[in-house]
């Protein structure tokens, strides 16, 4: 990396707000020709938003995007592609029933006599495939090929037009090690041809292997831009996760005061599911907050879902109060006093078109069955109690949950489970994407619940939060439980060290 040519893409002062969220705040970004540039950040950091701003899906509220020195303002992905910015998304967006050649040239087929010139199309597709060294028959139908090859075809499609910038959004998430190597080979070929490649991946090993430069985002702001060779994993992770100490009230006192000698409530031994999380052992005591730390994709959510029966485990068992629990689904977990508040509030948590009241009583009503309705009075009492206890606004039980802010939605979801008086409450990212006030309220609630004897399994991407709130911290990496730490004596640095996996190079990761 000597004196570089001028950047092909330059974004300056990009800000973009969605209703209730500042997705990007004054972000600068540059991308040079002939480099692989990794865009780093945890979920919700603004990676996808930045990419979508670049590719014309979103228009920035302020800021300027320039391409090869000229200011541009794309109003659609098509325009961006026309200008030389091609994107390959995580999910393969191709037509499995068409041929490889048709997929590569869809929408820009060579024409002859008003029809499609199929032989020219196959020839052109073969050229593109040869350029990246993929040897498959362009006339074969795409669906015959494995996902990895389809991914390569998607890249071929992206570079079939004059492509100066190639955006690869999580291209490796469904590939195995050999396929990743093949993808990287192709990326290097393109890079050496002068294509600027923007690469998003949650796998640090891959980022360190392929990228030349990286930009780190957190909570919609730019944290730093580095040459990959100059930044070690620890620094990178610390930047991604953030360490905004003192931003929240002092919760740690409460954690110290609590005594954690309660009886073992839930015990998992050898619990695991292929492709989700390796078999793990875990003990959770009554009145204890157990934190789960690890990067995105480390198996945090997967572990929680197994404990709740949302996914079926293929090995191991769960004991509740020492007695084995047959986890046949969420219902058996709920009956045993386990509650799970999903990280995906909208998709797996709330029922957006129903009222606050209905959402609050849903879990309890479901447990009772439809023939035994809660009386109107019981419902009103419950609703009133929790609207007040959690400070949910608006305090109107008939308001549709859809209309609430993220923080209030999260509180409604929490309240739904509190109504059932769970013995183990699993909270997956309960504070993500909500404002700082609601965040502090939820953290205080967690400590208060633990003080009353509820066991809490607390999952958060924010290490600070986990360290502050948890009595015990379970560290996950690459879908494996790698350590268990005493929360009262552990610092963020120690956890970061573990997550980063030390200095020793990891064996090649196999994902699938």
């Amino acid at each position: 990396m000597t004196e570089s040519p001028p950047p092909v893409v330059q974004m300056r002062g990009i800000s973009l707000a969605f209703p209730g969220v500042k997705a990007l705040q004054d972000v600068d970004f540059r991308l040079f020709p002939g480099e692989v540039h990794a865009l780093m950040g945890e979920n919700g950091a603004g990676k996808s938003t930045l990419i979508k701003t670049l590719t014309g899906v979103h228009r920035p509220d302020s800021g300027q995007v320039s391409l090869a020195g000229a200011d541009v303002a794309f109003s659609s992905p098509g325009e961006a592609q026309h200008a030389g910015i091609s994107t390959v998304y995580q999910e393969v967006n191709l037509c499995a029933n068409l041929t490889v050649a048709e997929n590569i040239l869809l929408g820009r087929e060579p024409r002859r006599f008003g029809g499609v010139d199929f032989s020219a199309m196959r020839k052109r597709a073969a050229e593109v495939l040869a350029r990246i060294g993929v040897h498959i028959d362009p006339a074969s139908s795409l669906g015959e090929h494995p996902i990895a090859v389809q991914q390569l075809v998607a890249i071929a499609r992206a570079i079939a037009v004059d492509c100066r910038v190639l955006v690869l959004d999580e291209p490796t998430s469904s590939l195995d090690a050999g396929e990743v190597a093949e993808l990287f080979r192709i990326m290097r070929v393109l890079r050496d041809e002068g294509v600027a490649i923007l690469f998003v991946s949650h796998f640090l090993d891959q980022v360190y292997e392929i990228s030349d430069r990286m930009t780190v985002l957190r909570n919609g702001t730019l944290v730093g831009e580095h040459l990959t060779a100059e930044v070690d994993r620890r620094t990178l992770i610390a930047q991604m996760i953030g360490r905004d100490l003192g931003a929240l009230e002092a919760i740690e006192d409460a954690a110290e005061k609590r005594k954690t000698g309660g009886p073992v409530l839930v015990q998992a031994s050898g619990l695991g599911r292929k492709g989700a999380i390796e078999p793990f052992d875990l003990e959770i005591r009554a009145g204890e907050v157990v934190g789960l730390a690890g990067l995105l994709g480390s198996g945090r959510t997967e572990l929680a879902r197994l404990l709740f029966g949302a996914d079926r485990a293929d090995s191991g068992k769960v004991l509740v109060d020492g007695a084995p629990l047959r986890l046949r689904g969420p219902r058996s977990a709920i009956a045993a006093g386990i509650a799970f508040s999903s990280e995906d509030r909208k998709g797996e948590g709330l029922v957006a078109d129903l009222s606050i009241r209905d959402n609050l009583v849903l879990a309890m009503q479901a447990a009772r069955g439809w023939t035994r309705p809660l009386s109107r009075r019981t419902k009103d009492q419950l609703v009133e109690k929790y609207l007040k206890a959690l400070d949910i606004r608006p305090a109107n039980p008939d308001a549709l949950v859809r209309t609430l802010s993220g923080g209030n939605q999260q509180k409604v979801l929490l309240a739904r489970w509190l109504v059932t008086e769970p013995r183990l409450l699993i909270l997956d990212e309960p504070t993500r994407g909500i404002d700082i006030g609601a965040k502090a309220q939820i953290q205080q609630l967690v400590t208060a619940l633990a003080a009353e004897g509820t066991a809490v399994l607390f999952i958060s991407a924010e290490l600070e939060e986990v360290v502050r709130i948890a009595d015990r911290i379970v560290v996950l990496r690459d879908r494996r439980k790698i350590a268990e730490l005493d929360g009262s004596v552990t610092g963020v640095d120690e956890v970061v060290e573990l997550i980063a996996g030390g200095a020793a190079p990891e064996p090649e990761k196999v994902v699938s």
């Binding site: 969420p330 797996e348 957006a352 209905d358 849903l362 009772r368």
Partner: protein, 327 residues
């Protein structure tokens, strides 16, 4: 919810007024032999089967489903009861026949529920199976003939009177029952919850499979009762034509009533209005003497108009009303 019922109400009122203009005696009621007659009564009576089927359809649609097989199920119900009754004129035989028919319908509903909830087949495909096969079953039962019966007890169901036509009373009874069961128990809320967000409902511990199963059985039983009415009204079972296209009318009634085909919140009152609009429309076609060849076009225009004013885009365009009438 009340706001959403305004347009269906307006449409219904407009149709009724149109009838009044064309037939001044349309609203007149007269009592003859202790039974009530008149244009409005006719609308209600002829609309009873559609209303019944639309009630079942409402709950199915609320769970994000659809049931195309109701017309065929109605034909099967008529066929089974008529074949069982045969030449008998005893009330006992009539009731046994009807009980058999409804039991069979419940089984057919279980089958639909099995395909949708058990096998995870898309509802439109799953119920298409019975929509086509059902007519065949009805043909098998009637051996391809139109089976006529002459049973006074059976005739009461579709053509009898207790002040009002029995068909009206039955459908209103079912309406009341559904409203009571879904709104007084938690069934309604759980149905809506499953319809709005199936995965969230599952994770909250809702037995979505059982709920879906229940609504398909209910829809099939409703279709069965409607089938008995249709067949009783003419004292015959016609495997080919009984309840033909009634699933379309029922779906339309549900949609006109403001329940979204995407599932979720439903309105039984809306469905009642929808069913009345469809039936009034059919009646209007006869009273104002629309030529038979443009009947369907006329119906389509009215339905499109009602659906349009309910579409979000059209409502946005009409939103100046909101200023005058704060909701």
């Amino acid at each position: 919810m009340k706001n959403r019922l305004i347009w269906p109400l307006v449409a219904l009122a407009a149709l009724l007024l149109l009838n009044l203009v064309v037939t001044p005696s349309f609203f007149a009621l007269r009592i003859q032999d202790g039974a009530l007659y008149g244009g409005l009564v006719d609308v209600l009576k002829n609309g009873a089967p559609t209303l019944l089927i639309a009630l079942g359809m409402t709950l199915v649609i609320a769970t994000r489903g659809i049931d195309l097989s109701v017309g065929a199920v109605a034909a099967i119900a008529g066929a089974v009861s008529c074949v069982h009754i045969g030449t008998s004129d005893s009330a006992g035989t009539a009731f046994a026949g009807m009980a058999m028919a409804l039991l069979l319908c419940a089984l057919l509903g279980l089958w639909n529920g099995f395909l949708v909830a058990g096998m995870g087949i898309q509802p439109i495909i799953a119920t298409l199976v019975l929509m086509t096969a059902g007519r065949g079953i009805a043909m098998l039962v009637t051996e391809g003939q139109i089976v006529t019966v002459n049973n006074s007890a059976y005739k009461q169901v579709g053509a009898g009177f207790v002040v009002l036509p029995v068909a009206i009373l039955i459908s209103l009874l079912v309406l009341g029952l559904v409203a009571f069961v879904t709104r007084r128990t938690a069934l309604g809320m759980l149905i809506e919850s499953v319809g709005v967000n199936p995965e969230a409902s599952r994770l909250a511990g809702v037995r979505s499979g059982t709920i879906i199963w229940t609504v398909y059985v209910f829809a099939a039983v409703c279709a069965g009762i409607a089938g008995l009415m249709i067949s009783s009204n003419v004292s015959a079972a016609d495997a080919n034509n009984a309840g033909l296209w009634i699933e379309m009318d029922a779906i339309l009634a549900v949609v006109i009533g403001g329940t979204s085909l995407a599932g979720g919140r439903y309105s039984l009152t809306g469905t009642l209005l929808g069913a009345l609009i469809i039936q009034t429309l059919t009646t209007t076609v006869y009273t104002i003497g629309v030529a038979p060849e443009v009947t369907l076009v006329f119906k389509a225009i009215v339905v499109i108009a009602v659906c349009l004013v309910q579409a979000p885009k059209a409502r946005a365009a009409l939103s100046f009303r909101k200023v005058a009438v704060p909701s």
